[in-house]
Amino acid sequence: MIEFHAVSKRYPGGKEALRGVSFRLGHGEMAFLTGHSGAGKSTLLKLIACLERPTSGQVLVDGLNVGRLPRRRIPQLRRRIGVVFQDHRLLHDRTVFENVALPLHVAGHRGPEVGRRVRAALDQVGLLGKERAYPVTLSGGEQQRVGIARAVVNRPPLLLADEPTGNLDPELSREIMALFARFNQVGVTVLIATHDIALVEAMGRRRLVLREGRLVEGAAEAA
């Protein structure tokens, strides 16, 4: 699903975020991306969603060379990737329903199908009763689950999460991780960046460890 071939990323300031990173994540796999802050976790995720382009090397997502993707084709890539953020990135002037429906509207879906799929996604994250609520009225954990519902509503084959439990207490964090594991069980490829080592070890999944932009652990598995 995801292939990195000797990928380096240098930012305009000269900072080298990733150096010669190579790994492969198969279809239906679930892995954690760990490392200290500044180790390059976010950059790696951004390269997959084409939010940044690699300075050198190749990034392939589902066989697509993301680094060379023309601008106008980026939306099609992003519709196949669900992204969950630490700060949720919900729109606060819209209800939970409207937030979750946004990816469907963007992809051109209309009518009763939208309502059905939004409710299915909200049901999966346990927020079926909250569709008319505004995000500010929800707790941090609930907001994050709305973010997850939005990421999966379009049934993307790949789910990325950047510190999805960063602001949550351990119990809520476990719940969120269990949610990701459930999506993985139905075939979604999942890659989660986190620095919560205890949680990662409890999950017992593959680990990709970054240190100062280099992949120091987890590159070989399943490759």
């Binding site: 939010l51 106008r72 980026i74 939306p75 099609q76 990135r89 729109l91 963007v106 051109g108």
Partner: protein, 323 residues
């Protein structure tokens, strides 16, 4: 305009028939148009102020256009004032002069012909000039018979052509066309038309900038929404559309307001104008914008709004990228 973005959006999966795809495309436009209108209504006061600026800017050239059209209608009614004086040869006897008057009166392009005999001309000259004693000293009437022609046409070219044809008649010694005031009037009207065009162009640019600035602010206010939409795979066309519709609504509603302002001002002027026309014994009444000009005003406003939004969108939407 957003057609390319639409296609790239690939609203329907490949292989789906065309019609549902067209329906989806129309539905997206309807949603964007309605959403922009709702957004406009959500902050009525600030929307109204922006619309008022656009409305006043559009009302000025529209109002000047109406004034000019009315001025042209009024001066069109004065065409009878243009005269061509034909001084006949001395040898033409009065009977022939009367016959010529009838002939000319029957010509196309001629509204009326009046014969002034040498005796009448002399009497008038004596009365008006005060040189009566000098004329007595001449002993013989030096003035020729004159045919005063009132042309049907009013534009200078037609008058000149008519005068030239009349001058070529064998009985006519000289033809004098009093064209100066006609020329001046036409020059004034041409100047006024050019002035209105200049004012209209400047105010159109102002509307473009007002709408552009309004849309720029709207883009800034909705920055987070744009970022999120880009993150989840919204095409440029999808993101652009509500802003373009917002510009279109601003232009269209501003033009509608301008229409109300112009027609309202005309309604206020109608009474006094009618009284003035009565004093001149004229049947003229001030005309409004009319269907054609009203339609042009609305279409022009909408086009300016759309263009202003397009400028803002082209400049600012690309700068906003998720990071």
């Amino acid at each position: 305009m957003a057609a390319r973005g639409e296609r790239a959006a690939g609203a329907a999966p490949a292989g789906r028939p065309r019609r549902p795809r067209l329906r989806a495309w129309l539905a997206e436009h309807r949603d964007a148009a309605a959403g922009s209108l709702r957004r406009l209504a959500r902050e009525p006061l600030s929307s109204l102020m922006t619309l008022a600026v656009i409305g006043i800017a559009l009302a000025l050239p529209a109002g000047l256009h109406v004034l000019l059209a009315n001025a042209q209608a009024v001066t069109g009614g004065w065409r009878g004032e243009a005269r061509i004086s034909l001084f006949l040869e001395r040898g033409v006897d009065p009977a022939r002069a009367r016959a010529l008057r009838r002939e000319l009166a029957a010509r196309p392009g001629v509204r009326a012909v009046e014969l002034v005999t040498p005796e009448q001309a002399l009497a008038e000259f004596r009365r008006l000039s005060g040189f009566g004693d000098a004329l007595d000293a001449l002993g013989e009437n030096p003035l020729p018979a004159t045919l005063v022609v009132t042309p049907a046409a009013s534009d200078p070219e037609a008058l000149v052509a008519l005068a030239a044809r009349l001058r070529a008649l064998p009985e006519v010694e000289a033809a004098q066309l009093d064209l100066e005031w006609v020329r001046r009037l036409h020059a004034i009207l041409a100047l006024a038309r050019r002035g209105v065009a200049v004012v209209a162009a400047l105010l159109a640019a102002a509307v473009l900038l007002v709408v552009g600035n309004t849309i720029r602010l709207e883009i800034q206010n909705r920055r987070e929404e744009i970022v999120v939409t880009k993150l989840i795979g919204g095409t440029d066309g999808f993101i652009r559309r509500p802003f373009l519709y917002s510009g279109l609504w601003h232009g269209l509603l501003g033009a509608a307001l301008a229409w109300v302002l112009v027609e309202g001002a005309l309604a206020l002027l109608a009474g006094p104008a009618a009284r003035l026309a009565e004093l001149y014994a004229s049947a003229w009444r001030p005309a409004g914008l009319g269907a054609g000009a009203s339609l042009a005003l609305l279409a022009g406003g909408a086009a300016l709004g759309l263009a202003g939004a397009w400028l803002a969108v082209a400049r600012h939407l690309r700068e906003i990228e998720p990071a």
